[in-house]
């Protein structure tokens, strides 16, 4: 089934991140037909709009709507077959705050009332690039219509913009209304699982059901949605090539002065039309005469045109002192044979940078509203955009192209582009793609401090290695719950049961890098043990799941079970943080100091002790005002 939409994109400025509902709803516009408009922020969808739906990030103002959705869900067929949501306002305030605090939870709202009718989550992406999609839907709109539209759009975005290889979803096999929209977008059941459960009944027995895993692969999606587009073929290409045969491939999208440019790979292309060269080197031809000739021959058929609705001006040999300049008015063709009144010119293949010529773009790039292609070349905007993003003008290809959709001449403004041949600059580096780690190791980045509100560091050189600053990601944790008293570690007690569960569960972890269990002292005293998980396991043996807030921690190694050493290290961390100048202690009821055994168990037999990293929660100290 074809459910894909034609996507149009805009990027929210980095410094604009509306977090209140009225602000977000200012983004609403009219979207018609089979189109979706998407505002992105930090390469994630922030706000999506179709003709009847809004899919947006949550805000804390959504608490009551989340409560309504949750209460409706408690009367739905999904009641006992999924993670339980809070059913009181206080709990839903927390849930809304959690949803609002991440970029994976999305509220689906119905226009024009903006009523919340569904929740969609990008749960996770595994190492194979398979994205796990979750959804919770208001029963009144669980109609294989609104839900299908929203899930399809999120799936389309995942394929086209997040470049995933597949989208999967896990749901109860027998909840038809839950899996119907997933089937509609092309997902197939690839696996079933008996005796799945999330909830226990009043007697503490698990309420079991048959779960199913559904999947749609990239190939299946593309086969079912032929007019959908691969990730490389971004929307700008669509505007241009909507009805055309594709001959070029998008390599990357880059930004220069806030304007989007695209680097595309073009094959050798034959252009057919009228081409005249100047009579001497480094001089220009009579372009008016060439254009007159081209227009005179408009009725002369050009064979096998690639894009019949598009035509171009080509500037040839400009920038060469040793060749006569030429100008051509032409169209792209698959054929080498044409009427003898035409000339042909083969434009070399390779990388080309292009920008869409628009008044707004011209104003930004060279200060006037001209969309004349030559103005884009003479003002060197393509050269500059290329060079700032890791490309150079191709020294071997002296061709500039102004490419216009003449079929739109009657519907001003028509779509038009400027093209220039470029090559990768191996000695340069694309700021857009500069990885975070390089920014971190760049001495320059340390020297040229950006505007941050952190107070100045007073960490002495000789104390730099005493404490590590680490960030733990917010995640779900399966936990023992608080265990008080001397029996906390007794056989059969909470901690023992938890230990038994997580040591078994941990064996299933495909990624065995670093231990994932942390112990802390909860606000009421005693001990609590937690195991960080990407996804909540189906079988947690009756243990609880909590939201681990993550955040920054000051960390140092200690000797496990050595109280004296523990106190010394702990106090050392506190002192280091207090003297750092740039961090403050941030231990709260939610963010506790953590302990994490880092040495493998057999090492204890060798060195006589386990090693434990102590994590102390910290925050960045703000600069005094």
């Amino acid at each position: 089934m074809n459910t894909a939409k034609k996507l149009n994109f805009a990027t929210l400025p980095q410094d604009y991140s509306p977090s209140t509902l009225p602000e977000i709803l200012k983004l609403v516009k009219k979207v018609k037909g089979n189109t979706a408009f998407i505002y992105e922020r930090m390469s994630k969808p922030f706000f999506m709009e179709t003709d009847r739906l809004i899919i947006r990030r949550f805000t804390i103002e959504d608490a009551e709507a989340v409560l309504a959705l949750s209460l409706d869900r408690m009367n739905s067929s999904m009641k006992n077959f999924d993670h339980q949501w809070p059913t009181d306002l206080e709990g839903c305030k927390g849930a809304a705050a959690y949803f609002a605090g991440n970029d994976t939870s999305y509220a689906v709202c119905l226009k024009p009332s903006m009523k919340l009718i569904g929740y969609i989550s990008y749960n996770s992406v595994n190492d194979d690039g398979i994205l796990d999609l979750g959804h919770v839907w208001y029963t009144a709109y669980q109609n294989n219509n609104h839900d299908t539209e929203a899930l399809s759009l999120m799936t389309q975005y995942a394929f086209e913009k997040l470049s995933v290889n597949g989208v999967t979803a896990g749901n109860p096999l027998d909840c038809e209304e839950q899996i119907a929209p997933l089937k509609s977008i092309g997902m197939e059941v690839i696996e079933t699982r008996e005796k799945a459960f999330f909830v226990n009944d009043a007697d503490g027995n698990p309420i079991e059901f048959t779960g199913c895993k559904m999947l749609i692969t990239r190939e299946q999606w593309e086969a079912g949605n032929p007019e959908s587009y691969s990730p490389k073929n971004r929307p700008e290409i669509l505007n241009m090539m909507e009805d055309a045969r594709q001959i070029e491939k998008l390599v990357e999208t880059i930004s220069y002065n806030g304007i989007t440019f695209e680097v595309v790979e073009r094959p050798d292309v034959v252009w057919v039309g009228c081409l005249d060269y100047a009579s001497e080197n480094n001089t220009e031809s009579d372009s008016d005469a060439t254009l007159n000739r081209y227009q005179k021959y408009l009725d002369v058929v050009k064979q096998d045109l690639i894009n019949p609705d598009w035509s171009a001006s080509l500037w040839v040999n400009y920038g060469c002192d040793d060749k006569p300049h030429g100008q051509m008015f032409a169209q792209e063709t698959y054929s080498a044979k044409h009427d003898e009144r035409y000339e042909t010119f083969t434009q070399p293949g390779g990388l080309w940078i292009r920008v869409r010529r628009k008044k707004e773009t011209s104003l930004v790039l060279f200060g006037n509203e001209s969309i004349d292609a030559w103005d884009y070349f003479i003002n060197k905007v393509l050269e500059n955009a290329a060079e700032e993003n890791g490309y150079n003008v191709n020294p071997d290809v002296h061709v500039r192209i102004g490419y216009d959709c003449h079929a739109e001449y009657n519907t001003s403004p028509h779509t038009c582009y400027a093209y220039m041949s470029v090559i990768e600059n191996p000695e340069s580096y694309s700021p857009k793609n500069k990885p975070v780690i390089l920014e971190m190791v760049s001495e320059a980045s340390v020297a040229n401090k950006p505007e941050i509100t952190a107070a100045a560091s007073t960490i002495k050189a000789e104390e730099r290695n005493m404490v590590r600053i680490m960030e733990l990601s917010a995640c779900k944790m399966v936990t023992s719950g608080p265990a008080n008293g001397e029996d906390a570690f007794a056989p059969g007690g909470k901690l023992a049961r938890f230990h038994e569960w997580f040591t078994e569960y941990d064996k299933q972890r495909t990624d065995q890098f670093y231990p994932r269990n942390f112990m802390w002292s909860p606000p009421g005293g005693g001990f609590q043990w937690g195991f960080a998980v990407d996804e909540i396991p189906a079988d947690i043996n009756g243990l609880k799941v909590i939201d681990f807030p993550g955040g920054l921690y000051a960390v140092a190694i200690s000797v496990d079970a050595d109280g004296q050493d523990h106190d010394r290290v702990y106090n050392g961390i506190l002192e280091w943080v207090n003297n750092s100048g740039c961090f403050v202690l941030d231990e709260t009821d939610e963010r506790r100091s953590l302990g994490n055994i880092t040495s493998p168990p057999f090492v204890k037999d060798i060195i006589g002790y386990d090693q434990m990293d102590l994590y102390f929660p910290i925050a960045i100290k703000e600069e005094p005002k």
Binding site: K434, P435, I437, S442, I459, R464, E471, C582
Partner: protein
Amino acid sequence: MINEKDRNAVRIIELPSCKMIWSGVCPGTAGTSENVPLRKFSEWWSAFDKLRKDRFYARDFMWYDGAAGGMAWGLAVADIPADTGGFEVIDFPGGLYAVANYADGDAEGAYTSINKWVEESDCFIPDGSRNHMWHCFGCCSEPIPIIMGYNQYDFYFPILVKGEAK
């Protein structure tokens, strides 16, 4: 046995054997800012790593391959992804490492102190068959290096338990 004063000087960490997608050996000793192949690998893995939901701890390791005479960078993965960006996949042997952290430019200091610790431990010996490795750690979304004024690294020194056959 480990002297009491040295117990917290070095961490003993076991890395699992796994698949690693790597840059290949990039000739020379230049770091990422000057080494184009490393930069290209960095570009790929940084983008790939963003897909990882589990953001706990860094998975990239850099090393100097003395035999091949160049730097290399690898990203440990639990499963080989369908798209490796054109980079090769190798078997990372894993094993036991003595680890210490260091700040910018003091990898040699970390190496020296770990080497001394291992020698004096009387229970571990260096494993010359595997490479020393290092990586920037922290996985911080905040500009921590800028705030602190330095970057943090962990140095991984391959070790064996003394007296145990490899």
